[in-house]
């Protein structure tokens, strides 16, 4: 104990200058810079500059991130967030501090959900996006914002198009942007794409709700839905003059539920079908004629989904491909559209396949070609005949089946086709294939990670069990058991002897990185997304994906997931879906227990045989997953109701008893409840002061820290989790409670951060970081009331709950912190670091704990004894030193949770951040890598020196002996 204390004192004194060294950056850390799962309508290949043939892949993802990806290697060229801030993942919305008040909610309902769209025109040099109420133009090469135009009164953009400007292209852009916005009666605005200036505006005063825009070479069509009172499901189509936006003519059309509007240079058309369609209605805009297309095929299942892909060539007629999906298979129908007669005729059908597939349209020499992608092969159909002109086998099936795809086809010579396909799988993986060969894949599903857990290497555990058995048996039985074990081990001897020479040579030549991997332990990281994917990442291999699994019966709906890893088995509790168990090493499903139980979280409690999972319902009630499975008697849980009104203390076991409740008063909400980490070892029970006296730490395993917020103030409560007694409480007035107030509790201290007034007297506000340390008594060498009590006592015995002595300090920080965590090491000897997410800088930092010492002397220099303790003068502003940045020069966007795990090395802690968008992992050594040989150590040189010395001794020894003998005879 004392040694530990001394060691930790020593470590805390040397830890003052740690940073990430240049040669460690990009080697010890890994980062998946993600965009989110790309959406079908907003993903395409596009040439950013007219001078080059090289194209980039552009997308707007469902996370409302616009970005460009290099098709060669899958790296992000640029990315920007359209939504500000990033949209919250649905499953953590309940926990989010922010709840829009009624007015905001009402406003949100009236304008509807934000719609995203991405437009690009070859050779224009920019891409235009719309999301929410903003239309923005971005430089296609570097993602710089060229201009942005916000719609009046926050009205959402419903649709936008690019049309040829018809102006002189030397002075302005060759295209203009046409925007439709509004709620009751839409407005069509034509914007100059080079500046965003308004060219003309058309206002519809009829009160119909605007829906779509469409355009052909000659005219613009504005489609609005008539109010349901007048005529249900009827669309009014108005054609506008491209030059001045004046209304030409209009007509009303009756359509079905699901409507799509498609624009081609020759013809624009509107199509509609019911929920489970047998046929489809298509109308070429500008004419009154409605064509009914039959989609049914004999002896197939009910049609589940219909999607339309336009194949607009330059020449008339235009083509559309209707992709029809049933439960088991899919096929496609191709139609020709004659813009003159406004007739739609069926050309041919593409064959039915009993598999999931995706279609892509690409134009070769002005003629559309259709690409069909299945899990086994890629087929390219010529538009004219509907026959396969090229076929490539796929070397790898897609993750969860093909979702949607974009194709770029090149024709060399007569019939030599080359194809590049960007495919977004149902499982959320974005891949690029060149002629069927996988070029790269981006794990975009990781943008939805809501839970993560570390998997320990379990290979050594079997031996540990056997040794444990031998230690607890009588000597004779233990001896026979040991003999048997050694006999069993003999069977591995030949193999071991065989690989002995290679292991010796490889042991000499292994790089430092590989040795380190062995020392850190072969940990895997299993993450689960809100949409049902389970992925294992290997932190030792730059976060490479080891295996991935899509949950059975998964859907797009976001769900709460809780992961638990035990003995190499990952148990995943998915809200309203069930319990999945997966083998952690290879990702194979072990079992799936379907249940529609609804929960907000899962707590794993120790049971009499195996750990027991308790599902926490919305009101905070813990329920076991199986009735017979109950936790050991005397297990205590703390739960929070989803509404944030109550924190409850429970005693579970054969019967569940609600022990205590902590309620927030009317008008306030409990936003955060934290406890000490499950693995939080303490190496020293006291703090040695400069005069060799000891301040004893208040170390209770049963502490919960509760943040209760009001409109403009919040209170921090520290509770004993067994009895519900309030141990400490402090109120901050005039604080911003709309932004998160992260907090963390570890060892004998807790910290939290917020934005609020720095002083009760001054109105100025700043970001603050508050630290509170808990001690048993204010007097050194005194344990207060705890000193007199016996070593073992219950939380319920009188006199056991004592209030801690608190030492507090507050610091001004220059950046807001959105999430906090603390590093964990195996023994807790290494000093700790506070891990924080800085959302404004897109960074993760580690603040050394010694900087936050609340005992730092204020307004005076430290005394000799304080210097000996490692204390230095308090400064109100805590500078975020660039050395603290774990993410160094990386842009780590949207991290909402950071977890940490110990390694086999005491000095080193693994860190992993996930949540909003990116995932980031690294390892930290808060007290430097004191148990690892430095880079200067050369194993080969050491062995060489020893060998040379041995050789020298062997050569010299006979010579010296002979000399000694000769000297003896001479006398």
């Amino acid at each position: 104990m004392r040694l530990n204390a001394l060691l930790s004192l020593f470590l805390s004194s040397i830890s003052s200058v740690h940073s990430i060294l240049a040669d460690e950056a990009y080697h010890i850390d890994y980062h998946h810079a993600l965009l989110g799962i790309p959406q079908a309508e907003t993903t395409f290949f596009h040439q950013p500059s007219a001078s080059s043939n090289a194209s980039l892949l552009y997308t707007i993802s469902e996370k409302a991130i616009i970005g460009a990806v290099n098709p060669k290697d899958g790296s992000v060229v640029w990315r920007q967030s359209l939504a500000d801030p990033l949209p919250e993942p649905a499953s953590v919305v309940e926990e989010a501090v922010k709840l829009p008040d009624e007015e905001q909610q009402k406003a949100l309902r009236s304008i509807g959900p934000a719609k995203a769209g991405l437009l690009a025109e070859e050779g224009s040099g920019f891409v235009v996006s719309y999301y929410g109420s903003a239309v923005s133009a971005w430089d296609a090469m570097n993602g710089k914002l060229a201009w942005q135009r916000l719609m009046p009164q926050g009205q959402h953009v419903k649709s936008a198009l690019l049309i040829p400007s018809g102006r002189d292209t030397s002075s302005s852009s060759a295209v203009d942007v046409l925007v439709l916005h509004g709620t009751e009666g839409g407005t069509v605005t034509r914007l100059d794409a080079s500046s965003g200036a308004v060219v003309w505006e058309y206002e519809d005063r009829s009160g119909a709700s605007p829906r779509y825009l469409a355009s052909t070479k000659n005219s613009i069509y504005y489609v609005s839905e008539q109010s349901a009172v007048l005529a249900a499901n009827s669309m009014k189509i108005v054609s506008l003059d491209t030059e001045n936006g004046r209304e030409d003519k209009g007509h009303v059309l009756k359509v079905d539920e699901v409507v799509t509007v498609t624009s081609c240079p020759n013809a624009a058309f509107i199509s509609g079908h019911g929920r489970s369609p047998r046929s489809m209605k298509v109308n070429v805009l500008g004419s009154d004629k409605v064509n009914t297309l039959n989609l049914e095929r004999s002896n197939d299942g009910e049609i589940e989904a219909v999607s339309i892909l336009p194949g607009c060539g330059d020449s008339s007629p235009s083509h559309i491909l209707v992709h029809v999906q049933t439960r088991d298979g899919a096929w496609a129908e191709v139609f020709n559209i004659d813009s003159e007669s406004a007739e739609v005729r069926k050309a041919y059908s593409l064959p039915y396949l009993k598999a999931k597939d995706a279609f892509a349209v690409s134009i070769i020499d002005g003629k559309p070609h259709f690409t069909r992608i299945t899990d086994v092969e890629i087929e390219l159909y010529s538009f004219a005949s509907g026959i396969v002109v090229a076929r490539w086998p796929r070397n790898q099936p897609s993750f969860g089946g093909p979702g949607h795809a974009q194709a770029e086809v090149v024709l060399r010579g007569q019939s030599n086709y080359a194809i590049r396909i960007s495919e977004v799988a149902t499982g959320g993986e974005w891949t690029l294939m060149r002629n069927g060969e996988l070029v790269w894949s981006r794990p975009e599903m990781l943008a939805h990670v809501v839970a993560a857990a570390w998997v320990d290497d379990v290979s050594g555990e079997a031996l540990a069990h056997e040794l444990d058995f031998e230690g607890h048996e009588n000597p004779l039985r233990a001896y026979t058991h040991r003999l048997k074990r050694h006999l069993r081990d003999l069977e591995y001897l030949p193999a071991w002897l065989q690989q002995l020479p290679s292991s010796v040579t490889s042991g000499l030549l292994t790089s430092k990185a590989e040795t380190e991997k062995g020392l850190l332990g072969h940990k895997l990281l299993v993450v689960a997304t809100s949409t049902g994917q389970h992925v294992a990442l290997d932190p030792a291999k730059a976060g490479a994906i080891k295996w991935k699994r899509l949950a059975q019966a998964a859907s797009d709906e976001a769900r709460a997931v809780s992961l638990y890893v035990h003995d190499g088995v990952v148990t995943s509790y998915v809200d309203r879906l069930g319990i999945m168990t997966i083998n952690a090493t290879d990702g194979r499903d072990i079992s799936f227990d379907q249940s529609d139980a609804h929960f907000t979280g899962v707590i794993i409690a120790p049971g009499p045989v195996a750990p027991v999972a308790y599902r926490i319902s919305r009101d905070g009630q813990p329920n076991t997953t199986a009735i017979s499975d109950v936790a050991r008697d005397g297990t205590y849980l703390v739960t929070r109701s989803a509404s944030g009104q109550e924190v409850q203390g429970w005693m579970v076991g054969r019967s569940n008893i609600k022990l205590w409740t902590f309620s927030s008063a009317a008008g306030s909400r409990i936003t955060n409840v934290v406890a000490r980490p499950a693995h939080d070892p303490v190496s020293s029970i006291g703090k040695v002061l400069g005069d060799r006296s000891v301040l004893y730490k208040y170390l209770s395993p049963n502490l919960v820290l509760i943040t209760s917020t009001k409109r403009d103030s919040f209170t921090i409560y520290l509770l004993d989790s067994i009895t519900g007694t309030i141990l400490y409480s402090a109120t901050h007035q005039d604080a911003d409670t709309s932004s998160p107030i992260p907090s963390v509790l570890s060892e004998n201290w807790f910290t939290y951060s917020f934005f609020g007034t720095s002083d009760a007297k001054s109105p100025s506000k700043c970001h603050q970081l508050v630290i509170v340390e808990l001690y048993e008594s204010p007097i050194p060498n005194d344990r207060g009331p705890l000193g007199s009590s016996s070593a073992n006592y219950s939380s319920f015995s009188p006199g056991s709950i004592t209030k801690p002595h608190t030492i507090t300090q507050s610091f001004v920080i220059t950046q807001p912190i959105s999430h906090m965590s603390v590093t964990q090491t195996a023994q807790g000897i290494t000093s700790r670091q506070l891990l924080c997410t800085l959302p404004d800088l897109n960074a993760i930092i580690a603040i050394p704990r010694y900087l936050l010492d609340p005992r730092r002397p204020v307004d005076r220099d430290p005394t000799r004894e304080e210097i000996e303790e490692g204390l230095f003068r308090y400064s109100p502003v805590l500078d975020l030193d660039p050395k603290f940045f774990l993410s160094h020069s990386r842009e780590v966007v949207g991290i909402q949770k950071i977890i940490s795990a110990p390694t086999l090395l005491e000095s080193t802690s693994l860190v992993f951040g996930f949540g909003g968008l990116d995932v980031f992992g690294t390892r930290v050594t808060p007290s430097k890598a004191f148990d690892v040989l430095g880079k200067g150590f050369n194993k080969l040189a050491l062995i060489g020196t020893v060998a040379a010395l041995g050789l020298g001794t062997a050569v010299l020894a006979p010579m010296v002996r002979r000399k000694a003998v000769e000297r003896g005879w001479r006398l």
Partner: protein
């Protein structure tokens, strides 16, 4: 101008005064105890009735009736029956204590936590071993200490104190007169005095 200022000040004072008189200085709270395994609709028994002053946080215990320590334990046959301590405040919290807390060999402390609206939202009872004399049957009221607490004022950054900068009409900083330097004599008079004393005292050697 000055008159109006005075008037405003007077008004403000009056306001403050009015507020103070409107606010009830004295509040009271009922503390209940209830056996943990009892039925949920059991209201519990009155443990204490306390009046307290919201500004000075002084309190008076008006009634106190702790559960009987010996007979309850034998009745239930368990060693430490648990009790839930609650208050009559709406949206109040509860805490847990065991019967042994009420043992006469301990002094009990009832801690009442106040909320923003000056109501007691949580009450907890703790005990410390009696330091003095063996327990003598006495009035239980005298053995209960009542403490009323509010959340502590939270720590704030200790900003550096600098004298406010004085600016003139143009916004330029008016240089403040530096502290008048002491003259050499003012600083070192004691040295001169010492020399003088030495000179005087060491004079008569011849």
């Amino acid at each position: 101008m000055r008159v109006s200022l005075f008037a405003a000040a007077a008004l403000m004072l009056q306001d403050v005064h009015a507020e103070v008189t409107i606010l009830p200085q004295l509040q009271s709270v009922d503390i209940f105890y209830q056996l943990m395994r009892s039925s949920p609709d059991d209201k519990g028994s009155l443990l204490a009735f306390v009046k307290y002053n919201v500004s000075s946080l002084e309190s008076t215990l008006l009634s106190y009736s702790p559960p009987a320590t010996s007979d309850t334990a034998t009745e239930l046959g368990t060693s430490h029956p648990l009790f839930r301590i609650s208050t009559n405040t709406p949206d109040g919290s509860t805490t847990v204590t065991s019967l042994s807390t009420f043992s006469p060999t301990y002094t009990q402390t009832l801690t009442l936590h106040l909320r923003d609206d000056d109501l007691v939202f949580a009450a907890s009872i703790s005990a410390e071993p009696l330091v003095l004399s063996p327990p003598t049957p006495q009035d239980p009221k005298t053995s209960l200490k009542v403490v009323v607490v509010r959340p502590q004022p939270a720590p704030t950054p200790k900003l550096n104190v600098r004298k406010p900068v004085v600016v003139d009409a143009d916004g330029k900083e008016v240089p403040q007169e530096p502290e008048v330097e002491k003259t050499l004599f003012q600083k070192y008079w004691w040295a001169l005095a010492l020399v003088a004393v030495l000179a005087l005292a060491g004079g008569g050697d011849k």
